[in-house]
């Protein structure tokens, strides 16, 4: 009857799914059995004792203690079995193993953001290694969302102002669908994400070079994302206004005055140096407060920033 299970639930893609599915199917058969049992009794009664004349006399049966005890006990036994079974499955889904890989999930209207232990971030695409325990530590920046992976049979609400956790071990390589399951407004049904279950090599590549998206996106576009997501925007403006750092507008190809008295030209090497060794040259009139981004930006991302600054004439 695996086809029936697969039809009702879809394939199983995490360790947790097998247990949930056996319980689910047990209750399915229970439901089918009792539905047809009751249905059969009702239809039998309605046919067999269909009224033929208004003068029919029926037996005066007020109760039957034995029978009533029986049909109170049977449901009681059944529901207790289901209760314990369900509890068992919940416990194992509830307590994450110690060695799990921890990924931080932020939900906000209407995107999912993922942050890996090494600081790598991705949007709406979560990469996890195959056959390894992964723990998601989740919170929301606005309203309540819910992280739902049907093929893992898992779901947990993502709540503002508190952390919730979800753990799993993916057993099938490939892509899994993630839904937001808690209603969160206009974009609720578009708040989707995908989980890429990678082989160890694929996962390493992802951490080194970023996902498919960052690898193929035009450089300028990638540079803009870096500017927005890696905090450059807090110190550097795009419109020429002076912030904690100089604006990026129109600096490309122009001279920059170093506080050491020398003159530099803003080119690719200069920008790379500013990002990786910000203290090497400090622009005159600014404090040396820019943090280094060594190890936090990938090579392609630096190229992206250069391209992006080039475009801001």
């Amino acid at each position: 009857m695996n086809w029936f299970r697969d039809y009702l639930l879809g394939p199983q893609s995490a360790t947790h799914a097998t247990e949930v599915d056996s319980l689910f199917m047990f209750i399915v058969y229970l439901t089918i059995f009792f539905f047809f049992f009751n249905g059969a009794l009702i239809f039998y009664a309605a046919r067999r004792w269909r009224r033929k004349s208004d003068r029919e006399i029926t037996p005066h049966i007020t109760h039957n203690t034995k029978l009533e005890l029986l049909w109170s006990l049977i449901p009681a036994v059944v529901v207790f079995v289901v209760f314990f079974w369900g509890f068992k499955g919940y416990v194992s889904a509830f307590i994450p193993p110690n060695e799990a890989l921890e990924i931080v999930v932020t939900g906000k209207k209407w995107v999912w953001q993922f942050e890996y232990p090494d600081g790598t971030r991705s949007l709406n695409d979560l990469h996890v290694p195959l056959n390894r325990d992964v723990k998601l530590v989740m919170h929301s920046e606005d309203v309540i969302h819910s992280f739902f992976v049907p093929r893992f049979r898992l779901k947990r609400d993502v709540i503002p102002g508190r952390y919730t956790e979800l753990w799993f071990r993916a057993t099938q390589p490939g892509v899994q669908q993630v839904f937001c399951a808690e209603y969160c407004g206009k974009g609720h049904s578009d708040m989707l994400a995908r989980i890429f279950v990678d082989t160890p090599e694929q996962y390493e590549t992802f951490l080194r070079e970023g996902d498919e998206q960052t690898r193929t996106m035009p450089l300028g576009e990638l540079g803009r994302l870096v500017y927005e997501n890696k905090g450059c925007a807090t110190c550097h403006s795009l419109d020429g206004t002076r912030g904690q750092g100089p604006s990026f507008k129109g600096i490309w190809g122009h001279p920059a005055d170093g506080s050491d008295g020398k003159n530099y030209v803003v080119d690719a090497n200069y920008i790379r140096q500013s990002i990786l060794y910000p203290q090497a040259v400090v622009v005159k009139g600014f404090e040396p407060i820019m943090p280094t981004f060594q190890g936090l930006l990938r090579e392609r991302e630096i190229l992206g920033v250069i391209e992006y600054i080039k475009s801001l004439q």
């Binding site: 949930v20 439901t31 208004d54 005066h60 079974w85 503002p160 102002g161 508190r162 969160c184 609720h188």
Partner: protein, 553 residues
Amino acid sequence: MENVSSATLHGSGHAAHHGDYLEDPKGLRSWLTTVDHKRIGIMYMWSVIFFMVVGGLLALLLRLELLTPKQTLITAEMYNRVFTLHGAVMVFLVIIPGIPAALGNFALPLLLGAKDVAFPRLNLFSYYLYVTGALMALCTLLLGGVDTGWTFYTPYSTTTGGGVTLMVLAAFVLGFSSIFTGVNFIATVHTLRAPGMGWFEMPLFCWSMYATALIQILATPVLGITLLLLVMERVMGVGIFDPQLGGDPVLFQHFFWFYSHPAVYIMILPAMAVISEVIPTFSKKTIFGYKAIAFSSIAIALLGFLVWAHHMFTAGMSLFAGAIFSFLTFFIAIPSAIKVFNWIATMWRGSISLRAPMIYAISFLLMFTIGGLTGLFLASLATDVHLHDTYFVVAHFHYVMAGSNLVALLAGIHYWWPKMFGRMYNDKLASVGAALVFLGFNATFLPQFVMGSRGMPRRYYNYLPEFQGLHIASTIGSWILASGLFLGLAVLIASLMKPKEQLARNPWGGRTLEWETASPPTTHNFDEPIALRHGPYDYRPVEEIEASEGVTR
């Protein structure tokens, strides 16, 4: 089919001290200021039917939108407003007041052999509160609608725009309407039973209504307070639920479900009440296990207060709390199962007449069985984590709230219709309507179970193409369901167009007291003092009843 005791109770004809309640006194004014429980019941009934049509049309619009995975007819914003209004109208204006306020008001005093409810003026006030609340709910449309869902989860509901505050206040007012009905029914059952009618000589309808009323007066105030807190947060910025203001959003869910889970029983107990009347009458057989049914109603009402957090298994609570709430939820399944077996046993060896009310009652038995059993998936922790907030839940609660409650409401309306209006509808067509409702209902909601277990989340405007087939099936089902409901309504209204006939007091051969008075009853219900000759479900011949000394049950 006139039975023996009613013939001895009353002389011939029904023009005693008063005329029939529909016409004595005449005029719109007399209706709007009436304190007659029957008239108030009728006004409630038409209001409920009106809102059922409104809510139903909204549902058809939703189903139409879901025919295709992307936009079909309306925008996402519109869709969110429509499903919120559908839910709010159906819950607060149709299902909660449906059976208690419409049928309960009409039938409860009659079944008890009383002249009216204990507080007739409060009863009228409760109706006007209902109307006020309904108007407030509709006025939210002028403020740009409400897009929170009927559950008003925070912090979404405290931060989104539109008429949320007004809608919440509407629910607050409707809550009071419900509380007053509850107060009235409790007092009525305690004080106005016919002389000689002990608690266990009451028809089971009254037991169930009594249990419902208990929940109404104990749980609804919690909803009222919660809704006021929500309004305070929205209007005055008092931080209770919004973490931005130092509040806790999950607290709202606890408060909300502390009312709304018992409210599920405000919805289902009255349905059970109707079914406990219809099945014995159309089986012409005494109810099986009277006490078991009566006590399980009370058990359900009390246990219903202890299970609210089963709506929050994925919201983050301790393992221990999860276990307790799951366990108690399973526990409450048992009295419901007992009742179903009792009703089937009542049909066993009966003399079964398949008229329209009975067809609805049988639909109820089948759909309540599905609704109840699918509840097991959601009570069980491991499976609930997967199914929570998917279409599986949508299907489950529609089986209970629509498939069971609305179908029981229809059973009750068809059952008491001849008593209400002194006219009989076309039973054949009404039965066709009932069959269509059954078919349409299952066609609409069975596919939703599968959608849900395959992972389709609820309240989704766009969805993945893989779900389209099931959505189409469900939408087609909704058309069948709608045609059944409209046919049913048309048949009932057509019966009112006919000239009034001299309808028998007891067209179905029931044994409860309402059948011993005229159809329609006179203003004071019973023209002669009531003498109980037999229990509410005693179908034995007179001699046998007399031989078994006095009232039996």
